[in-house]
């Protein structure tokens, strides 16, 4: 399913720029903002390149794609791997619908507030909404995984209701519990393992997002569509027995 109406012609969209990063890496830049449209183009390009040029490692971020390659394999006749990669990428992108991208839809159950979301009341106070309205707005939106980073499987989600934006905590926690659903600035994310972190914790999911031994190891990949669904404590405990808040 396309992310965004794919009505615009490719020629109307600014050409992406290449920036050399290292002997084995180029950055393909689409822009410099956190923006749904921009990220949709990033995801479309990354998945198309991944399909057409499997020998490149393509890593999507908010507004750019990292291209990592083996310089020896791409040296070409003139010995300039970056130019060879650039030419191959441009050729591959010519045949790519710039905004269309098949995305999975995942619903993530979350137990909000209480011991599972110890910052929910602070967030509600800060944004001047009742706590259940914060939950209603958080579950009411559809999100896109802009990228995975920070730790294995940590999804940066776009689509947070701007009214729910809250600053990060002044005193980051040393241990944020696994599965914590959090808001940091205008973004929301999920801690895939116990980690240090400064985002505001509003709930917790019983789903395990990342397990290196599973195939695939990450439940979410960049470009996926995500919704949150509120569950009560009894349901959480049913799904994760023996995991006290």
């Amino acid at each position: 399913m396309p992310w965004i109406e794919a009505g615009r012609k490719p020629s109307m969209i600014a050409e992406p720029q290449f920036e050399p990063l290292a002997e084995d890496a180029l950055l393909l830049r689409f822009g410099e903002r956190i923006d749904l449209d921009l990220n949709a183009r990033v995801q479309a390009a990354a998945s198309s390149l991944h399909r057409q040029l499997p020998q490149l490692e393509c890593v999507p971020a908010y507004a750019s794609v990292l291209l990592r390659f083996d310089p020896a394999a791409w040296a070409g006749a003139d010995g300039h791997p970056h130019q060879q990669v650039q030419a191959a990428v441009l050729a591959a992108l010519r045949d790519t619908d710039p905004v269309s991208h098949a995305a999975h839809e995942i619903t993530i159950p979350v137990c909000y507030g209480g011991a599972y979301g110890p910052d929910l009341l602070d967030v509600a106070t800060h944004v001047r909404l009742p706590a259940d309205e914060v939950v209603a707005r958080h579950t009411g939106a559809e999100y896109r995984v802009a990228m995975l980073g920070f730790a294995p499987g940590f999804p940066y989600l776009l689509g947070l209701d701007p009214q729910l934006a809250v600053p990060r905590r002044d005193d980051p926690r040393q241990r944020v519990p696994i599965g914590s659903v959090a808001i940091g600035g205008g973004q929301t994310g999920i801690y895939p393992q116990q980690l240090p972190g400064g985002w505001q914790l509003i709930g917790r999911t019983p789903l395990r997002l990342f397990d290196a031994a599973s195939e695939p190891p990450s439940r979410l990949v960049a470009g996926d569509r995500v919704r949150f669904q509120a569950i009560d404590e009894a349901t959480f405990r049913q799904l994760v027995p023996g995991d006290p808040p």
Partner: protein, 328 residues
Amino acid sequence: MNVRILQPGLLSSLQDAGRPGHAALGVGRAGAMDIPAWRLANALVGNRGGEAAIECTLLGPSVVFEEAATIALTGAPLRAQLDGRAVPLWTRCHVPAGSVLRLGGMTVGCRSYLAVRGGFDVAPILGSRSSDLHARLGYQQGRPLRAGDELPIGVADPLPGRHAIKTPYIAPWSLDPQPWFDFTEAPLALLRGSHWSRLDRDSQRGLFAGKFVLSKDSNRTAGRLDGQPLHLETALELVSEATLPGTLQLPPSGQPIALLAEAPVTGGYPRIGQVAATDLPRLAQRRPGDTVCFRESTLEQASARLAARQRRLNLLLERIAQRLQNGE
């Protein structure tokens, strides 16, 4: 067939070439900090190339070999004693069952490698046996080695010419550590980063003219560089983007951070430079308190240097394999 850790040393972990191909999942490469030294240690024991070895940091571990084994040490020079007898680096050594290898402190440099024929055969995670201490992936959830750890050795045919030994044997030939181990404080080649041009004039000069000291807060993720603070002309609001080993970031403190083997896959700080790949092992061999300075290099120069080093390393690997084949 195990190697048991008696004392872990300062920070010892299993490392191989790392786990490329998973950055899109937020999983970095990790892997050996000094790739040529790790590669040569494996070559000296006749491994095919990708086997895990123990990376030691500043002070090596003490281990007992429960079965006879063929080992090699490379990297930073350190005191090594096998049942009280000195063992040199950069050569092959056959150790009888029950031998105890005690590694001491490094006299210069920061990282040494202990390879064993067959490799340390722990379960691979996402295609690698590398311990990512930061992301907690690898042997025992990526923690450093501890006393009591039992590391299995992989199965390998015996080397030609040497069988069932009862006493330690040290091969009569060794490698010249130069140019593979370089602990001099000669400047590291640095490419301009995407945001170098956003530094103020003094900082643009200061990056290449100044001297930095590697801070004691450095680890496998990053080397923190203390020196005259660098400043941007105007503050930048950046969205998180790809970072790589060797990326030189500038946080608001003005003290640059050089990302290393366990570099996170994305970061939001300005990228003011990129350490040339050929000089990353040299940076990995700097210890806290050592001086770090940079000289400017172009991408073309850095790429040519990297290709030349790779050819030289491949040639040496072939020669080592040939000598082992000849039973030397």
